[in-house]
């Protein structure tokens, strides 16, 4: 019988090999991999540089605001943590080794699988982002050899904690939650609602003050201290300042938190391990309610939009609605981007922006920083929406091949798909607007948030139509193989289109956010319709542009099918 370490080594090796092999199976995936790798490296370096720069800036220019720096550290750690958790939530399963059901018949203990799955995270390419940030933090907080060693251990435990939480998300998302009965899911959502209410009260309390005081910073830290990011931030900060007793105390709490989280995850993992092959359960036992809801929702949208869309586009939209709504993970997908995301964005960003407002008055901080912070909120939402949209396309990606074999007008496919996404975005924007109103206490801000977000989503669709239409043009249909030169050209083209896309987003972002920020309602009255017209114009152009491209894509698919 092979020993524990030997099996862990084999499993981690398997994961690394599969990760490596997942890049470059065909020309399209080679291109996507190159773009992904370039993006990851640039993003990791840029993020680390931004964190180091911001921290040094605060250290030099905001010398009195010590709490802000601690808060910044805690927020950075939280950001990395949340980013890591969201990666699997958005469906980026970059290799096959998450699926332990393929190993269930082998003589391997579940604890071995569990440890290997945690360590296997180091074989993921996305690890470059947290590792680069951790390296930056290590650089910022290292004073001598002792602090270096202490910080290294702290960050290692923090990263392990993050991996375990990521593992928990993966288990829940792909294996556990779909099997939980609805009433159990309702209990979980009730708990989430209580958490939101508690968070709301906390934020509301801090907004009672005209400006955010040091008390609020301390309050924020008090909240964070119950979470891994706060514990790690406290340990790092105290070690840097030489308060070793407090530093070790925080490290102890972080370790305990990691162990408890590991134990909880292991319980779920064991359940998964024991029931991992339950897919053989007879058809028709589950999902009846979900199907009824899906039928109801799709029928509603068909009825609502039948005056505006052709029958073909409506059918495409209906098919996508049914595909998505009947998906067992739909509820979870909607929960994360449409509820938890906006709560985090509004509360964290608004809180920090208010503090920046306060600092600006006190210490003459450049006004552009406040504006940039406001823009930041918008762009996070955009990125989130983009990821979500990508995931939806991934979900029904195979269905589009079936449509290509029909006589349907290809432009109607694009219109139908855009209409489908807009109906989903409407839900996102409504939740976002309602939360803005609830958390900030001003109805008009809720309305602006709703309108602004819908506007941006519309533009995102236009950009999506353009970028997804650009790619197939680069391939020689007669030669399926792709050269290194083509890959590089494609990567450049992709990077260029991404940059252009971002530039397109700036005008409506300015139209919507700046008047709110500077309390200019008259500008808002002009700005909202103007930006709507701008976005709708792009959407219209993109549909007419993407139609012929889809036709070409169809020919490429048909060629591949006939080759196969």
């Amino acid at each position: 019988m092979v020993n524990l370490l030997g099996q862990i080594r084999l499993l981690v090796g398997l994961k690394a090999l599969l990760t490596l092999r997942s890049y470059g199976r065909d020309p399209l995936s080679i291109v996507q991999s190159v773009v992904f790798i370039i993006f990851i490296i640039i993003f990791a370096l840029f993020l680390t540089a931004a964190i180091i720069g911001s921290f040094i800036f605060m250290q030099n220019y905001l010398t009195e605001a010590v709490g802000l720096r601690v808060m910044f550290l805690a927020n950075t750690l939280l950001g990395i943590y949340v980013l890591w958790l969201l990666v699997p939530a958005f469906g980026f399963r970059i290799n096959e080794s998450y699926d332990v059901t393929k190993l269930l018949h082998l003589p391997v203990r579940r604890v071995t699988l569990f440890i290997a799955s945690i360590l296997g995270n180091f074989a993921d390419l996305t690890i470059l982002i947290p590792l680069a940030v951790m390296a930056g933090i290590l650089y910022l907080f290292t004073v001598d050899a002792y602090t270096f060693l202490f910080n290294l251990i702290t960050l290692f435990i923090f990263v392990t904690n993050m991996f375990i939480a990521g593992q928990l998300i993966v288990i829940l998302l792909y294996n556990f939650i779909p099997r939980i009965p609805v009433w159990k899911l309702l209990i979980a959502f009730a708990a989430l609602a209580m958490l939101c209410a508690w968070f709301y009260l906390a934020v509301k309390h801090s907004f009672r003050h005209e400006t955010v005081s040091m008390f609020d910073i301390a309050f924020g830290l008090k909240v964070y201290i119950y979470f891994p990011n706060g514990m790690a931030a406290s340990a790092l900060w105290n070690a840097r300042e030489g308060y070793w007793l407090s530093a070790f105390q925080s490290l102890g709490w972080l370790t305990l938190n990691t162990c408890v989280l590991g134990a909880i995850t292991n319980v779920f993992f064991s359940y998964w391990y024991a029931t991992g092959n339950i897919e053989g359960a007879p058809v028709g036992v589950r999902g009846q309610t979900r199907r009824a809801i899906a039928d109801l929702v799709s029928a509603f949208w068909v009825k609502a939009l039948r005056r505006f869309l052709s029958g073909q586009a409506l059918e495409v939209m209906r098919k996508d609605h049914l595909n998505l709504l009947r998906n067992r993970n739909f509820l979870l997908y909607k929960t994360i981007p449409a509820t938890i995301g906006p709560v985090l964005i509004i509360s964290a960003t608004w809180y920090n922006v208010n503090y920046l407002d306060f600092v600006q008055r006190e210490e003459s901080l450049p006004a552009c920083i406040t504006t940039a912070a406001m823009m930041f909120a918008g762009f996070i939402v955009i990125a989130q929406a983009h990821l979500f949209a990508g995931n939806i396309f991934g979900l029904e990606g195979r269905g589009i091949f079936t449509l290509f074999t029909t006589e349907i007008d290809k432009r109607q496919i694009v219109i139908g798909k855009d209409a489908f996404l807009l109906t989903l975005y409407l839900l996102d924007a409504t939740v976002f607007g309602a939360l803005t109103w609830l958390l900030l206490g001003k109805f008009v801000l809720g309305v602006f948030a709703f309108l602004g977000l819908m506007n941006l989503f519309m533009l995102m669709l236009a950009v999506g139509n353009f970028t997804s239409a650009v790619l197939p043009y680069y391939f020689d249909l007669e030669r399926p193989a792709v050269s290194a030169q083509q890959v590089i050209l494609l990567a450049i083209a992709e990077a260029f289109s991404a940059t252009v896309s971002l530039c397109l987003l700036i005008p409506p972002a300015l139209f919507i956010f700046l008047p709110v920020r500077f309390h200019l309602p008259w500008l808002e009255i002009i700005g909202v319709p103007l930006s709507f017209a701008y976005s709708f114009g792009w959407l219209w152009v993109s549909v007419h542009f993407a139609g012929p491209i889809v036709e070409r894509f169809e020919r490429m698919i048909m060629l591949k099918v006939s080759e196969a």
């Binding site: 019988m1 092979v2 030997g6 099996q7 084999l10 398997l14 090999l17 599969l18 092999r21 997942s22 199976r25 290799n95 096959e96 080794s97 699926d99 059901t101 393929k102 190993l103 269930l104 018949h105 082998l106 003589p107 391997v108 203990r109 024991a274 029931t275 991992g276 092959n277 339950i278 053989g280 359960a281 007879p282 036992v285 589950r286």
Partner: protein, 263 residues
């Protein structure tokens, strides 16, 4: 007598659906044992319980002398398993996959190399191609080779011949027969292809709606039910029909029809 496979009163449910309703089964060492049943009868569930992928709700399962509740790792180490739905890592080559499985079973690198070479020749596959480039038959063959790499005492094969061409089927059949005759390996396999079962197996069990309706030597069973000289297909269809008729009759005797007064 010690059995290679011993099941006693095994129950397994998926929510409200009872997949297995207290099955009893005994399989001796070195026997080529066929497991028959219509779709949804509980064949795959029973096999998954034997390998420890699923846990029984009630009953006792002993495989190769090990109890499934206490010695699950030992069972997995001593059994080779070919699932109906092939769970392969498709971005590995056939050779890499065999090497991974061999090492996970604790074989040395030399043993892995030697066994892989033998098995690759035996099942006749292109071992250096990625598995995702294999046809279904080739995938079946590599999965079968992986199930045999550690030279197990028991092979549990769930629909092993589905999707495999005639030439390969004959070759694999010969290999499996050699294993049972010369090396006393017990082979337990489920299949819909009754001709193959009739050619290979000495003993069978027929499962229907989660219950074993008949088990034993094929010829003995035919005599028992008065179907001597008929094919296995006739025997199978006859027993299933009898079982259905029996269950309907027993249901009718318990449930009153609408408007009928049982008092």
């Amino acid at each position: 007598m010690e059995y290679t496979i011993f099941l006693e009163g095994v129950h397994k449910s998926y929510g409200p659906v009872h997949a297995l309703n207290g099955i009893d089964l005994q399989v001796r060492e070195g026997v080529f044992y066929g497991f028959l049943g219509p779709n949804g009868a509980g064949k795959s569930t029973a096999i998954k319980l034997m390998i420890g992928i699923l846990y029984p709700d009630a009953g006792r399962i002993v495989i190769n002398g090990y109890d499934v509740r206490t010695d699950i790792i030992k069972i997995k180490a001593s059994v080779g398993f070919l699932p109906e739905q092939l769970n392969l890592y498709e971005r590995l080559t056939g050779r890499e996959y065999l090497s991974f499985i061999g090492h996970m079973h604790g074989l040395t690198s030399d043993m892995v190399k030697q066994h892989s070479k033998e098995l690759i020749e035996l099942v006749d596959i292109e071992a250096d191609k990625l598995i995702d480039q294999y046809s279904l038959g080739m995938k079946k063959k590599i999965a079968l080779a992986a199930a045999m790499i550690h030279k197990p005492r028991l092979l549990l094969l769930d629909e092993p011949f589905t999707g495999i061409d005639v030439i390969s089927t004959r070759r694999i059949r010969e290999v499996l027969l050699t294993l049972t005759k010369e090396e006393k390996v017990t082979i337990f396999f489920s299949s819909h292809v009754l001709e193959i079962i009739e050619k290979l197996c000495t003993e069978i069990a027929i499962i229907h709606k989660g219950k074993i309706i008949k088990a034993g030597e094929i010829e003995k069973l035919k005599r028992e039910v008065g179907r001597e000289g008929t094919t296995l297909e006739d025997l199978f269809l006859g027993l299933i029909a009898e079982s259905d008729a029996g269950s309907i009759a027993s249901k009718e005797s318990v449930e009153p029809t609408p408007g009928e007064n049982i008092g």
